[in-house]
C-alpha cells in the first residue's frame, strides 16, 4: 500500500523582527512556487509591532505613529488580508508557506482550517473557543478574541498566517480597533485558563502539532535557529 508523503519543514525562529520575517517569507514563497522547497511553517514571535493589511485601514490606529515609536513599537503596512492588529512577545505566530493547490484548498477552507488549529490548541487547555461569525474571522472565546488571522495567497502559495495570544501584554491592543471590530475585547490563554499555563515553548509546540494534524502532514522536519541565508542556492 502506497502512502502519499506530505512533508512539512518547521522553522522555530524565536523572536524575529517583522521586516526580517517578511523578507524571509518572500524568499520562501518564491522558492515554494518554483518547487525548490517543500511546504514550510515558520513558528516565531515578534517584538511589539502593529501591522495593517492591504486595505490600509489606518483609521483603526488610535494613536499617532510617533506615539507608537515612543512605546517601543513598530508599524508596518503589509499585503495580507485583514485589518489592523498587534503582535508582541508571548503571542504565538505561525506563518505557513504552503501550496494550497497540492491539497485542493481555496482561501475560505484554508482560513477555516487555520481557525480550527487555534480552536484545538485552546481546547487542549480546557478553553472552549469558536470561529467568528461572518465577517469576524478569527478565534473567539465567547465575545473575546484570542486568535487572529491574516493571510496572503499568491499563485496558490500562502504567506502571513495566524497569531494566538498566549499571554501578551493586552494593553497594546488599546491603541487600535483590533481587526476593525469595535466593542469586542481581546483575550489570551492566560486570562481564560484557571490554573498555571505550562512553559510557552510547549504551547508553541502544541500549536505546531495541531497545524500538522489538521493539514495532514505525516513527515515533519524540524529546523531550529536556521541561518536566514540558508536557502541561498
Amino acid at each position: 500500500m502506497r502512502v502519499l508523503t506530505r512533508s512539512l519543514e518547521v522553522w522555530r525562529l524565536g523572536v524575529l523582527n517583522y521586516l526580517e520575517a517578511l523578507k524571509l517569507q518572500e524568499k520562501l514563497v518564491t522558492d515554494r512556487k518554483s518547487g525548490k522547497i517543500t511546504d514550510t511553517l515558520l513558528s516565531l514571535q515578534h517584538p511589539p509591532t502593529y501591522t495593517l493589511g492591504k486595505r490600509q485601514t489606518v483609521h483603526n490606529l488610535l494613536v499617532s505613529e510617533s506615539q507608537l515609536k515612543s512605546m517601543g513599537a513598530e508599524l508596518h503596512y503589509t499585503q495580507r488580508g485583514g485589518d489592523i492588529t498587534y503582535h508582541g512577545p508571548h503571542q504565538a505566530i505561525l506563518y505557513p508557506i504552503i501550496s494550497l493547490r497540492d491539497i485542493g484548498f481555496g482561501a475560505r477552507k484554508y482560513v477555516e482550517t487555520l481557525e480550527l488549529t487555534m480552536i484545538e490548541l485552546a481546547s487542549l487547555h480546557g478553553v472552549k473557543a469558536h470561529a467568528g461569525e461572518s465577517g469576524e474571522t478569527g478565534v473567539w472565546v465567547g465575545e473575546r478574541k484570542i486568535g487572529a488571522i491574516g493571510v496572503r495567497i499568491s499563485s496558490g502559495i500562502t504567506s502571513h498566517g495566524v497569531a494566538f495570544n498566549i499571554d501578551p501584554d493586552l494593553s497594546y491592543f488599546e491603541h487600535i480597533v483590533p481587526c476593525g471590530i469595535a466593542d469586542k475585547e481581546v483575550t489570551s490563554l492566560k486570562r481564560e485558563v484557571d490554573s498555571d499555563l505550562p512553559a510557552e515553548e510547549l504551547i508553541h509546540e502544541q500549536l505546531i502539532s495541531c497545524f500538522v494534524r489538521l493539514f495532514g502532514y505525516n513527515n515533519v522536519i524540524w529546523k531550529d535557529n536556521p541561518s536566514l541565508c540558508d536557502q541561498q542556492s
Binding site: 488580508g81 484548498f105 482560513v111 499568491s154
Partner: protein, 164 residues
C-alpha cells in the same frame, strides 16, 4: 430559447448563478462541486476566465474560484493603460482575511477596469461571469487563448483538483 429557460430554472432550483446574455444562450455543465462553467469562455488553471469580444477580452474569476474564496470584501485592480502578462498577477481580491492574487490569462493592455467592484466587491460572488468582470484587455497576442482550457477541460480540471 427552450434551452435557456431550462438552464435558468434548473439553475434556480440548484441555486447556481448563471450568466444569460440576451444575444447568446450558453449551455453550462455541472461539475461535481456544482460550480457554473460556461461555454464560449476560456479558462486558466488558476481559475480565471477570459471572454474575447471583438477587439477586447474581458477577464474575471470563475464561479469555482469565488466559491472557494468566500465573500469578497475588497478588490484591487490595475489602472487602465497598464500592461498585463499571461500568468502574471494583475490584482487581488480580499475575502475572509485572505488576500489572493488574481493572474491574467492573457497579455495585453488594460483598456477598462470594472469600477463597480470598489463599491460592490460582492458582485464577484453573485455574478462572477457577468457583472463581476474585473478588467478588459486589448490582447497583444490573441494566440495565447489557444493555450487555455475550454469549458469541458476546465470542468474536468476542477473535479480533479480538489474534490470539493
Amino acid at each position: 430559447m427552450a434551452m435557456r429557460m431550462w438552464a435558468s430554472s434548473t439553475a434556480n432550483a440548484l441555486k447556481l448563478s448563471t450568466a444569460i446574455r440576451p444575444h447568446f444562450s450558453p449551455a453550462f455543465s455541472l461539475s461535481r462541486c456544482f460550480s457554473t462553467v460556461l461555454e464560449g469562455f476560456k479558462y486558466a488553471n488558476s481559475h480565471e476566465w477570459v471572454k474575447h469580444e471583438g477587439p477586447v477580452a474581458a477577464v474575471g474569476i470563475t464561479d469555482h474560484a469565488q466559491d472557494h474564496l468566500g465573500e469578497v470584501v475588497f478588490v484591487e485592480l490595475p489602472d487602465a493603460g497598464s500592461v498585463v502578462s499571461q500568468g502574471k498577477s494583475f490584482g487581488n481580491v480580499e475575502s475572509v482575511k485572505a488576500t489572493s492574487d488574481v493572474n491574467s490569462p492573457i497579455s495585453g493592455e488594460v483598456v477598462e477596469v470594472n469600477s463597480k467592484l470598489s463599491e460592490t466587491p460582492g458582485l464577484i460572488n453573485s455574478s462572477p461571469y457577468e457583472d463581476g468582470w474585473m478588467i478588459k484587455v486589448k490582447p497583444s497576442n490573441p494566440s495565447e487563448l489557444e493555450s487555455l482550457m475550454g469549458s469541458k477541460e476546465y470542468t474536468k480540471f476542477c473535479e480533479e483538483e480538489g474534490g470539493h
